[in-house]
Amino acid sequence: MSQEIEITGLNKSFGQGAAAFHALSAIDLTIATGEFFTLLGPSGCGKTTLLRIIAGFEEPSTGALRINGKEVTGLGPDKRPINTVFQSYALFPHMSVAQNIGFGLKMLRKPKSEIKATVAEMLQLVRMEAMADRLPSEISGGQQQRVALARALAPRPRVLLLDEPLSALDLKLRKEMQSELKRLQTETGITFVFVTHDQEEALTMSDRIAVMSAGEILQLGPPQEIYNAPVNRFVADFIGDTNFLSLRVKAIKAGEAVLELPGGKQASARLPASISPSVGSRVTAVIRPEQAEPTPAGQGEMQAIVESATFFGTDTHLHLLLDDAQGFVLRRQNRPDQPSPAPGTNLGLTFAPGALRVLED
């Protein structure tokens, strides 16, 4: 696959001298043609700034940005083959839905007949044919979202940037638009760069995710990798739910650490290359709530007592207290023949090899 966007050594700071705020530091990133790429992070992590730099609304302080092999730093947003779906949609309130969608093509001086045909095609793509003559104020939020998408897709950009486009929609509509977006991306083959703070949205839609925090990319990879092998505590905490355990190192051999579990049993976990704890010190280890299983009391790796249970429909979260008083959340799928254990019940815990991971703090 060819490289659509190449970012090398990109920095961005706002302000001067001591008061300068470093929004992005040393970003290196390549995004492949036709990829659904997501920038994920909490608000203020720099993901929107990075998107605005790609769009051309901001210039990087240092570093290079190439789109389809061509250096674009210094080119305005009107000179880049990129369109944006804005968080607020930014639909032109004085233009009809059709005029909004056709605006980009009109500015590119396409012939009237071509504009008309493309607008009709886009209206069909986002299923808004019946609304062509409405004003943005006369359609619902979800419909405005579709129009914003159609408007950005109409000039057939090489890259579509989406800045938290679903954040204003309610849950059901958001789910609907998630699959809609994925469908549009597959149908058009356009490279999507999607910005979100919603980890679930990122996991379900993306080909690859870049997890960002404080202006840096912490981890870059496919959703499965980000979820199953987070590189540090921040990523593990931000993506999905995780149990953090503070465990003592009993021995170290060949990139693996033997850890002492609460209750005295031992288990081994792979050590990331970045850390080398000494024997006897404590490290942070994680187990995902769904990767541990309950066993009868006395069996399994660890022993625990049920403190409370929270019902979530498809599953129940059991809040447990381990032998050494550390908390642990266990996710258990609900089945009619297996009622969830009552608070006060003693049970054992077991987990598959590989579920226990040591993380950098």
Partner: protein
């Protein structure tokens, strides 16, 4: 639906002021325009259409039956409309970048700029007008500087011309254009501008297709606020324009003063009212028709 019957009573103080200060005097003016002039000013209670007739026509002094258009009056009407239109246009042209500048400052400094815009209002209009006179008269500041630097040999005649009146009126009415324009821009969603650039619009296209339609309500309000007082301006044309550039306000004042023809003055004043209301209706029909304003 209880207790709604008496709520209109809350309007009575305002209604009393409106009746006493606006409708009452207007009624008196309307009645006066159909009476005959007194010799020493005032009116004689005798019905007459002479005043309305003389607004448009004049009689030959020696042959009262010979009637001609009153070209002097028509000229004043035309000049008032034309100068007011130009003033409105100049204010819009200068006011737009000013308002844009203020609206794009950081929030806490905008107040300072708005405050600076309103400073001219603190000084009496007469004094400000005399100050302009001081700048542009033959041996005033501008001419003195130009002669001293050797750019010109003899002073440029700027006083007592339509240019002087335009300059004065544009200066006086500029804040009335800037403030509503600023209010419209401040409400504007600036991500629309970014969306425009993103969709390949040039700066000019963004201005024309996106910013102007958004701030149109401000232009409409500003134009009305400038045009209406401009068409009735009195002080500025009187001081800067002299007798050669008389405007409607001066003509009306003349009838109530030296002219000693109150009915004619009253008829002219009513005519001006009709012209302004007519212009307003026409303007709102033509300019205000599009979606931006209808949905405000």
């Amino acid at each position: 639906m209880r207790g709604h019957g008496w709520k209109w009573l809350l309007c009575t103080p305002a209604l009393i002021v409106l009746v006493l200060a606006a409708s009452g005097p207007l009624l008196i003016v309307a009645v006066y325009s159909f009476l005959s002039p007194g010799n020493m000013g005032g009116v004689v209670w005798e019905f007459s259409l002479e005043a309305w007739f003389r607004v448009f026509f004049r009689r030959d002094i020696f042959e009262p039956d010979q009637v001609a258009w009153n070209t002097a009056h028509l000229q004043v009407f035309w000049r008032s409309i034309w100068l007011s239109l130009q003033t409105t246009f100049i204010c819009a042209f200068l006011g737009f970048p000013t308002a844009w500048f203020i609206a794009t400052r950081p929030r806490h400094t905008r107040t300072i700029w708005l405050f600076l815009i309103t400073i001219p209002f603190w000084t009496n209009l007469l004094i400000r007008t005399f100050a302009i006179q001081e700048m542009i008269r033959n041996n005033g500041t501008i001419n003195a500087v130009l002669i001293w630097t050797g750019v010109i040999d003899s002073p440029i005649q700027m006083m007592f011309s339509e240019f002087a009146v335009l300059l004065g009126m544009a200066y006086v009415f500029l804040p009335l254009m800037v403030l509503p324009l600023y209010a419209a821009m401040e409400k504007m969603d600036f991500s629309l501008v970014e969306a425009g650039y993103d969709l390949y619009a040039s700066r000019l296209n963004v201005l024309w297709h996106i910013i102007l339609p958004q701030v149109k309500p401000g232009f409409i309000a500003g134009s009305i606020l400038v045009f209406i007082p401009a068409i009735g301006a009195y002080v500025t044309p009187r001081i800067l324009g002299g007798g050669r550039t008389m405007m409607l306000g001066n003509l009306i004042a003349l009838q109530f003063g030296q002219g000693r023809n109150w009915p004619l003055g009253a008829a002219l004043a009513l005519l001006m009212l009709v012209m302004v209301v007519g212009a307003l209706i026409f303007y709102l029909r033509v300019v205000g028709r599009s979606d931006g304003v209808r949905r405000g």
